[in-house]
């Protein structure tokens, strides 16, 4: 899968390309808005990693242009600007995610994959944490490569948690995901399903833990 890195610091661009290669991605590197504009017009990339402060202009301007032309390419913005208004400004300009330098390479890869796993994007169907695996295509859960049978709602909760690996999923998000916006949901319904899912996973030997962040939401992580 090919990515485009637009970053004027060549050293950083090359290191990122190298790091991404070990994670299984090929990356092309450009350093100006002008070049990026030309190349994006003719070449297809799975995602764009865009630095904001470029020598011939602002990366956000390029981003707005892309969105105006309805180009849906996932864009991950890298920036040295960590100011109060910068993040909001970046996301409003059409960035899918926003990383302030310096960032961990793992974080970049994780955020990238979160974008690439969105419906309609390119990344494979398999989500994995430790020995737990979830195939988004046929919604099949496996532990140690052994297919498992979970209820529809347990599966829905697990899918949401695994798609947001490393991040907290709010209780509201889980509610919306399994019940939709229709009808009344019993206040403890989500807790009941999470509890059941946790029990199922532990009984079947999955080395993961579903954490409850009281008042906030849930998070799935590798068991310690």
């Amino acid at each position: 899968m090919r990515l485009l890195i637009v970053e004027d610091n060549e050293e950083l661009a090359e290191l990122l390309a190298k790091g991404l290669r070990t994670a299984g991605y090929e990356a092309d590197m450009l350093s100006t808005v002008e070049e990026a504009r030309a190349v994006l017009g003719t070449t297809f990339y799975a995602a764009l990693i865009l630095d904001l402060g470029l020598p011939d202009g602002d990366g956000l301007a390029l981003l707005r242009e892309l969105r105006q032309r309805d180009n849906p390419i996932p864009v991950l913005v890298l920036t040295a600007r960590g100011g109060v208004h910068d993040r909001v400004h970046g996301l409003r300009s059409g960035a899918d995610d926003y990383l302030v330098k310096p960032f961990a390479l793992e974080e970049l890869v994780a955020r990238l994959e979160a974008q690439l796993r969105r419906p309609g994007q390119l990344l494979g169907n398999s989500l994995r944490i430790a020995n737990l695996q979830f195939d988004t295509q046929n919604r099949q859960t496996s532990i140690d490569d052994q297919p498992q049978v979970l209820s529809a709602r347990e599966t829905a909760v697990l899918e949401l948690l695994m798609r947001s690996k490393g991040r907290v999923v709010s209780k509201k998000q889980v509610e919306d995901h399994i019940f939709g916006h229709s009808g009344e949901v019993a206040s403890n319904a989500v807790e009941v399903y999470v509890h059941r899912l946790r029990k199922q996973l532990s009984e079947r030997g999955a080395r993961v833990q579903v954490h409850t962040i009281r008042g906030v939401g849930y998070l799935i992580a590798e068991e310690k």
Binding site: L15, R81, V88, A104, R167, V168, I213, R214
Partner: protein, 451 residues
């Protein structure tokens, strides 16, 4: 010296003074004009009377002058009526004819007198005013005097003069007052653009440094002031811009090399080396980030209009720090108001404050314990931990920049709580700390509720 706060009151005052002065001057001028006009009418009438008397002068058969007045004129000059009188003076100043009882001249005879003269003379307790007209009858020159006793003057003319103020004069004052009211209205209208400019000026502040006063509608006389104010604002905005640019430039110059370093470490093969270097670079990045936050805070202004839902801000922070806490075997929880709690302020800034409190709490608690966020409907958010708490003598120190309890401890900059305090100040709020029983600290960030 009288001092006036407003231009309108100054104008009203000056206008009242002008009205008073104008009223007095106008009265004097009008009464002078009126007196002048009545005197003119009187003089003209006297001159005509003298001429009429002259027409009846003739030279008789004996060569003497004769005066033959018709009966209506004789009535006019009768002693009984007593109002008008005449006299005819000869070349040597002798009185030839007189309507007066004692056969005297009305005015002292003057043979050098011109063709027409207007005279006034006191006779006993009466004052006679009239005209002297020179006339040639045959070969003789005479002066005919006609006069009126001022004590018996024409009542009509006297009435006009006397009643002038009662009937006409009072109108001038209201007219001048109406003029004053119209003037005030005109002036208020003329000042309208200034009032509008003032309203715009009220909205100018550090949060909106780009606003300028409009000069288009402003009267030319005031425009230099408005332009000068705008130029002053330009300079202030430039100052803000330079400070912001510095923060942005510093951020770029510091974060880019850190980013290169961080990525270079992330692709190292040697696991042990990678772990150690990562910890170092993360500590460095943390310090840089907090220093930049402080630099930004020093130039930051909270928009008075802005508001934030404290509950959702706290919730986002909890989501953000939960993975870090879990990685250290600690837990995070959020409780308190289930509904949005709107407070005045910038959501991103408030998030930073709560995040610093949270990170501080997580760093000071043992694995297995929980850091709790409590959002209250009165606009406060508390962060509770089970750590060692704060000694009384440290209570003030902990909010100082770069203060640390244990200087040997890694990963702490001593900036986090000073950032929280600065953000609280910017939001007209407060940050307080108290110890919990049996152990732990409770940091409370109190903000101003939004309407």
């Amino acid at each position: 010296m009288l001092r006036f706060k407003s231009i309108i009151s100054r104008i009203v005052f000056l206008h009242v003074v002008a009205v008073v002065i104008t009223s007095i001057l106008m009265s004097v001028a009008l009464s002078w004009l009126l007196n002048y006009a009545t005197a003119n009418i009187h003089n003209k009438a006297m001159q005509e009377q003298a001429q009429t008397v002259g027409e009846h002068l003739s030279i008789g058969a004996d060569g003497r002058l004769e005066l033959d007045l018709p009966s209506d004129l004789l009535g006019l000059y009768s002693q009984a009526y007593g109002r008008y009188s005449y006299a005819v003076i000869g070349e040597r100043g002798e009185v030839l004819f007189s309507s007066l009882g004692d056969h005297q001249a009305l005015f002292p005879a003057d043979t050098r007198a011109g063709a027409i003269e207007f005279l006034q003379h006191r006779r006993g307790d009466a004052t006679v005013s009239g005209a002297s007209v020179r006339k040639t009858v045959g070969d003789r020159i005479v002066w005919i005097q006609a006069g009126e006793d001022l004590a018996n003057r024409d009542v009509l003319i006297d009435d006009i003069v006397a009643d002038f103020y009662k009937n006409v004069g009072w109108i001038t004052l209201p007219i001048l007052l109406v003029l004053l009211i119209i003037d005030i209205a005109i002036f208020r209208r003329a000042l309208q653009p200034l009032r509008e400019a003032s309203e715009i000026a009220e909205g100018i502040g550090p949060a909106r440094p780009g606003v300028r006063l409009p000069t288009g509608e402003i009267p030319r006389e005031v425009r230099p002031l408005v332009s000068a104010v705008n130029q002053g604002l330009d300079r202030l905005e430039e100052g803000f811009r330079i400070q912001r640019d510095f923060t942005a430039d510093a951020a770029h110059e510091l974060r880019t090399p850190l980013s290169v370093l961080r990525t270079r470490i992330d692709i190292l093969e040697d696991q042990e080396m990678r772990r150690a270097l990562r910890q170092n670079v993360e500590g460095m990045a943390h310090i840089v980030s907090q220093l930049l936050d402080i630099a930004e805070l020093d130039a930051f202004v909270v928009d008075a209009e802005e508001k934030a839902d404290l509950r959702s801000v706290a919730s986002e922070v909890a989501e953000f720090v939960a993975p870090l806490a879990l990685a250290q075997g600690k837990d995070v929880a959020l409780s308190g108001s289930p509904d949005p709690v709107w407070v005045k302020g910038n959501a991103e800034m408030l998030g930073r404050a709560i995040r610093n409190l949270a990170e501080n709490a997580i760093n000071h608690t043992a694995p297995g314990s929980t850091v709790e966020f409590v959002v209250d409907a009165d606009g406060t958010v508390s962060v509770l931990d089970d750590g060692p708490g704060i000694n009384d003598d440290e209570r003030k120190l902990i909010f100082r920049r770069f203060w640390r309890r244990d200087r040997r401890k890694q990963g702490s900059t001593g900036l986090g709580l000073s950032i929280v305090q600065r953000i609280a100040e910017l939001h007209s709020g407060s940050i307080t700390v108290e110890n919990r029983k049996p152990r732990g600290a409770r940091f409370q960030l109190r903000l101003v509720r939004a309407a």
